[in-house]
Symmetry: C2
């Protein structure tokens, strides 16, 4: 989820280092640059308002150069989401993987992971740049079915990821209340996506990590050892 900021940040860094000296780039590097600028533009203005002209101006190629990398604009949309979903997955795999290594109890591992997630979110330099899934949701009609399906699968993969953890926890710590674990898994996505919106709207980057910490509190109460 924080990939927006991290990825974009790295790209800018790369850009200032490698572009200052004019030199031949590899095609895949240009493609990555386009995707990087496109992602932050889409999160700030939406897909329709992000023009190919502004992307090529930022990257320093001509329009035909763009169409060498993407067959049309909707191909860009697809590549953007694919890249975003993969990056998100990698970050969560890494983060919760590290949390698990530190702790073999499923509940404690999850709580540590949530804390690390909140800290990662709190350490972003500015407010979270946004979630592409959310952005695409609110521009649904712009995309074809394959993109909408990717978006759906993205959400469902988060559900599956956290549902699995909750199942492992529930096995050892029976819930103190009657609760739907799919809903509780979805709650992570809800609070992150909702928290991003609140942080952006209020312009207070603390709100998002605060919401994650509240979820952590909720988990502790649901699986409290009485």
């Amino acid at each position: 989820m924080p990939q927006g900021a991290v990825g974009t940040g790295l790209l800018y860094l790369w850009y200032s280092k490698n572009m200052a000296t004019v030199q031949k780039r590899k095609g895949s590097e240009t493609r990555e640059l386009i995707l990087g600028f496109a992602e932050s533009a889409v999160l700030e203005k939406g897909f329709a308002a992000t023009s190919i002209d502004e992307l090529i101006a930022a990257v320093g190629i001509t329009k035909s150069g763009f169409f060498y990398h993407f067959k049309d604009k909707s191909d860009l949309a697809k590549a953007l989401l694919r890249r975003y979903l993969d990056a998100e997955d990698a970050i969560l795999d890494d983060l919760f993987g590290r949390a698990d290594e530190l702790n073999e109890d499923p509940l404690h591992g999850f709580l540590v992971g949530l804390k690390m997630l909140a800290e990662l979110l709190a350490d972003l330099p500015a407010t979270h740049p946004g979630c592409l899934v959310a952005a695409y949701c609110y521009q649904d009609r712009l995309f074809d079915q394959s993109v909408r399906d990717m978006n759906r699968e993205g959400v469902l993969s988060w559900r599956a990821r956290f549902r699995k953890r909750l199942d492992d926890i529930a096995e050892r710590y029976p819930p103190t209340v009657d609760i739907n674990l799919d809903d509780m898994a979805d709650m992570v996505s809800s609070l992150v996506d909702g928290g991003i919106i609140l942080s952006k709207a209020v312009r207070d980057k603390g709100i998002l990590p605060g919401q994650v910490m509240l979820y952590r509190e909720f988990v502790k109460m649901v699986f409290a050892t009485r």
Copy 2:
């Protein structure tokens, strides 16, 4: 928040009744029609992709007719958000007002209100059409400062609304855990905005009310009478 659906639905109804027989409309009715079509278009495709042409085609006036009602497109954006925020406020006032009448205990009143909110959301004919605040957040750069400020105030008014309730509850039922009540008030917005996104992405209208009911569970646990 459900105003999107409810409002739009009513407008369509009005439209089919009153527009079938060609007759002179009052200007304010035309304006409302424009706003209704614009709102659902913006929630489906974003503001930039919503053209004045499509709105006037839907309403049945010429382009100049549009500019009689709105001085430019950004004036439409402003009117859209103003109307949305007011409608949302009215709905919440009404809903929690009714819940309070049924119950004088602040905790029980809140729990009843949350239940009613979840039911209202569950009873929508389709997935929730979306929250304009969230849509605008993800198209930030399209709007001027006054619109961004309206969005901010919208979120903060939800915080104040629910914070007040939580304070009243906490006075009678001391929280069982150490918790930031501002964050807990924001959680309603988070879960509603996040839940809308999940419901839209997964195309399952049950997710949103499910998230509200989880919040209700959380409130019960935080203010549990031991």
